[in-house]
Subunit: 337 residues, 2 copies
């Protein structure tokens, strides 16, 4: 009898732990009130989404902050956390944070007071400021082990280094950029034009989502390289993919995308002066054949910082983080140790 | 006195020759009447533009046919002809031909009976058929030394080989394709979508040319590679270039572009069976990092033909024909000998 109770106890304990872990991974929100932007604007009732993975140490020394990529959510980040993944959440306490205008945190698509294009333009400095407020004011975390981000998450990681150089011990910007190269500016401007010149755009007050297939096409053309794309696709699949993108249009919000793209385009960290203030150890990861975040500015900043530099060189382009995930994960694990 | 007359005679003779050459290089037109298309349609009052360079041999054995690239004209081809250029017009008699829907030959922008989107869809088989008619029926040339074309001109060269395998001694398709790869289909479909979903499109009956800056952006993003683009441009120049493209919009005709793009997308030469019928000696030229006409299908067809293959490998992408013009011109001259 005693033994069976003990077994039941153990099960209850395990279930309790599982529930705790599962709950932590659930979407949570912090209310930051009216959040003042550097351009003088205000995000009314600013709400920041986040999820945590793993367990916070008693001395809070194992926090790793992970901001989302463009159009991405913390839900989509989930698969990056766990043993052997990008961040081992059995060692680190991961705080994944939804970037402004991703449809989860305050965004044109979910703001009642500032809907659609009435949602103010903001910068990645503002985005990172909301994350700093979440950590310091809501979660009471004043210093972190590391900031790690992929793509626009990598851009935010660079901005974290520039805005709060004392806040982190280490930083790993992955296929990100401290300042968009000419090619990157051209590709984002083209995507904004594609949305805003679309017949269904209507100043952002659309009922049918504008230019969804075209927006999807930009991703297909630029996220990887032509040889990789041609290996994976048939001629017939191109048109099936485009039709599917159009039929999935309801999942896409053009206003949200535009505000994030504008924030990326404004990113312009003064490399030389910023490099002098950085105190963290930095591992910069770039992809040689990246056609979305071209690797020039990140590589230049890595040199100015004397940072470690990992160059992914598969022909998967921006998606090299997936194609070379093992190599990437090992380098990140080693660097965080 | 006798001597001075002789000098005058010589001068007059030279002037006469210059006038003849200059006249030949001027835009000329052939009227083909109502031209029947393979889809059952008809181009009414079909007019084909062309220019000639050099002198036709008495036995007509030195004719080189050069069709235009997408959106290009025979005027733009001019600089390719002469000693040390792509084709030496002091040796060969070049007949450069304006492709259908380039704004010079019959096109949506210049057809009175079938203006704008009332201009019928056609294929590159039709385009090549108009050129065959021009040569055989108007210029009375029944066989040529070579067909040489760049980009969509290269596609037409492949189509010449498939449609009229007895017509040429040699053929040099340069950064062309016998069948568009998946990546190429995606990029052209995106460009058609960008034009036809534009707020100014109006079913082709526009007064303001639609999506010109966006259309220009596609070229900037795909004609070369990101490293080459970033080397040549500054961040500021990106926006200056886009503004200039928009202000030059009147030079661009969306209807003309759409009909040419549709023809390219329809191109689908059955490689194995076509390879068996080809009689010409073929030099296939591809660019390794070409992001507009990806080199897979041309390379495959070259292997099936047992053709010579020249791979341009600079990071200028589709523009490698300019960056590596010396290497290209020497290879073409050698092959034509």
């Amino acid at each position: 009898m005693k033994r069976s109770i003990c077994v039941i106890c153990r099960w209850l304990f395990v279930l309790h732990l599982c529930a705790l872990v599962a709950f932590a991974q659930e979407q949570q929100f912090a209310n930051l009130g009216d959040f003042k932007l550097e351009n003088g604007g205000v995000i009314r009732n600013c709400r920041i989404g986040y999820r945590t993975f793993g367990t916070l140490n008693s001395d809070k020394s194992n926090v790793v902050v992970v901001p989302t990529w463009a159009g991405g959510t913390t839900e989509q980040l989930k698969s990056n956390f766990g043993p052997g993944r990008l961040i081992d959440s059995t060692t680190y306490y991961v705080v994944a944070i939804d970037a402004l205008s991703n449809g989860v945190s305050s965004s044109p698509s979910n703001s009642r007071l500032q809907p659609r294009m009435r949602f103010p333009e903001f910068s990645l400095r503002d985005t990172v400021a909301t994350q700093h407020a979440l950590l310091t004011r809501v979660l009471n975390i004043q210093h972190v082990k590391a900031v790690v981000g992929i793509s626009m998450g990598g851009m935010q990681t660079f901005q974290w280094l520039a805005s709060y150089p004392d806040f982190m011990e280490k930083a790993i910007p992955i296929v990100g950029s401290p300042r968009l190269a000419p090619y990157d500016l051209m590709l984002w401007q083209a995507q904004i034009d594609a949305l805003m010149r679309d017949r269904d755009w209507k100043g952002g007050n659309y009922s049918a989502n504008p230019a969804r297939a075209l927006d999807f096409a930009f991703g297909e053309l630029l996220l990887t390289t032509p040889p990789d794309y041609n290996r994976r696709k048939t001629r017939e699949q191109v048109f099936a993919d485009l039709a599917k993108a159009q039929s999935d249009a309801h999942r896409f919000d053009a206003n949200d995308k535009i505000r994030q793209v504008q924030a990326m385009m404004k990113l312009d960290i003064p490399l030389e002066s910023a490099a002098k203030t950085v105190k963290a150890k930095v591992l910069v990861v770039v992809a040689k054949y990246d056609h979305v975040v071209t690797p020039g500015p990140a590589t230049e900043f890595a040199k100015l910082l004397g940072a470690d530099l990992l160059v992914l060189d598969s022909d998967c382009g921006h998606l090299a983080t997936s194609c070379e995930s093992q190599r990437l994960n090992e380098a990140v694990a080693q660097f965080l140790k």
